[in-house]
Symmetry: D2
Subunit: 203 residues, 4 copies
């Protein structure tokens, strides 16, 4: 390939910059793993932007989604990272999904949906449980709007039930998290390269 | 009882006032059913307020949640209404749940959690499916922070798969929706009256 | 009350007797807490019985659900316990829910649904996460068929992500699990007593 | 390719043969769409087999999963079809997922997980809602054990809320269902062909 694959991490923490974020730590580890395969990384912290409520690609005055959307459209791989609150993906994550819903009716000049040939990886972190559930929600929503989901494409961490440990405060990367990061990154790169070379046809 | 029971509908539509909202229509029908039992109704449209991201009861400057929280604390019955986007509760609904999470560590002077003895009803509307799933999420989250869930305490409507009909555009209330509204309202009133007279003890 | 309240634990482990079961351990702790309030306990291990696939109250020859159903109908409180597999409630748990679905069309002589005035508690255990999600599924399904869900009516435990520890192998009850067991039991007893004395009216 | 791609539909209806099954109808339509791309189809109706509870690849005497597992291992594409009961995937579907969980620790001679390079399509049908939720559960579980999920890889149908219409009783295929069937089949074939030619590497 002439130009490197690109990956965009969408960090859906509730915490505005410059606060520390476990999602940022976990997502950053995935970007590092992707970079080891030559992928060029970028990051959005969604809560730092004013993303209007709605399901159109541009909700008008004051809506900062259109600029973020441009970054999504340029990426080969999306690393969608969310914290867990009440066992669910964050309100910020759901806001991003709602705005991606608009892509269901967007196509390129050939009639191909805008997000076809892009690959999605899910990352979920929490000091309460919810990762399997949230990963399912992300995979369903992201496949629906056009992303492809690699084998073993999720990375997650949660602590023991009802303890308060945060991922960002761990002293080292748990071995199982490191393993799943390695696998998810390798599989995402493999699939994104295949799809760049030979994409889906327009429906 | 000396004073009537009160119900607060929290409408979690993505649409700011004065736009029409299917959630408003369905929630309004439940409030009407509650009023027929003598319950005094009130309504919040959450998206009309600036609710800061976070999980504290007051997130500081610009946060309009504290005033909304006061309304929650005064109600006997909460009617939690959400639309369905990508099969999930709205980002606005999740934002409200995140703020209610703070009540896990709030108690009255006797050590009783702030939301004990309050009753929750769930209402879900969508032109795509998701109601059973979302109802489960709401019941889990609302029970967790202290609400009690009556028998058959949910009301929902969705149209046939992948059609675009909105609840607000139906010409009449579907019979099954009317039945479940009647039952949910009656059961919520019964339970709220029992709990007002004889509440839980502090843990 | 003349006769004590009764509680039935439905253990939905995949492991037939006499194998050890984490669900059995956690459910047993809840029954003990209920017994401390004078509640009379009983237990079903669903996988030990041949429960036919289907959604009728009696699926005919070889179906052992009808006898189990009689036990459900006699209980004031159901403690529904499930392990977590792939982040979901077990196939055995879903089988029990499917059979309870038949109660949607069953009523007593006065037209009151068979499960009204009964209270449900959820317990979820796993060496992988899923408890919030599964609790929501159980509360939705159980409220739908007629149970009432107390405040803070769930008890769960899961270990740190991707570790293999089982609840049954812990050396002591985690403090947070003990606290939530105490609260769930007290609230279930309070609510079941209220509903026995003053039940819902038939819809 | 020398040999055609193969697809295996796993029908997770609660109804034993020869009863009519909406899942069978919807899954059959997907197999037909796959066959139009030259894919060779096969079908399992899981409830017709005695699949023991457990999470090992062989649960011993009386377990019919090992023979079904052989069929899974030979297929390039899995079409996982489930009905919706209480808003959830069926107990039969969950039983199949539990048995597929064993593949997490199975590899070929090169250390590659047994299900890598296989593609999964989800199909959900119901006269009550649940499709988005269930699709998420299936995609999470199937990606976790090694399948790859194509863009827009789900097909579903549910009727209007609380009506009793079954998919098998519709007089014609709804246009939207036909469209999503066409897209899911084309994308699955494209991806399965890419992965057969250039598979993932062992982690």
């Amino acid at each position: 390939m002439d130009t490197p694959l690109t990956a965009l991490m969408i960090n859906c923490t509730l915490k505005p910059s410059p606060q520390d974020s476990s999602s940022d730590v976990l997502g950053g580890q995935i970007l590092t793993a992707l970079a080891s395969h030559g992928v060029s990384p970028a990051t959005i912290r969604a809560v730092d932007h004013s993303i209007s409520p709605g399901v159109q690609k541009d909700m008008g005055a004051g809506d900062e989604w259109p600029a973020l959307r441009e970054q999504v459209l340029k990426a080969d791989i999306i690393v969608f990272v969310t914290p867990t609150w009440l066992g669910q993906h964050s309100s910020v994550a759901q806001r991003v999904l709602e705005r991606l819903d608009a892509e269901l009716s967007e196509t390129d000049a050939d009639g191909k949906p805008t997000l076809f040939d892009k690959v999605a990886v899910a990352a979920v972190v929490g000091n309460e449980d919810g990762a399997h559930h949230i990963t399912g929600i992300l995979f369903q929503a992201l496949s629906d709007v056009g992303f492809t989901v690699p084998a073993q494409a999720s990375v997650y961490w949660n602590g023991e039930a009802m303890h308060g440990t945060d991922y960002k405060d761990l002293h080292e990367v748990p071995e199982k998290v490191a393993q799943s990061t390695t696998t998810a990154a390798a599989n995402a790169v493999h699939l994104a390269a295949l799809l760049r070379e030979s994409g889906y046809t327009a429906p």
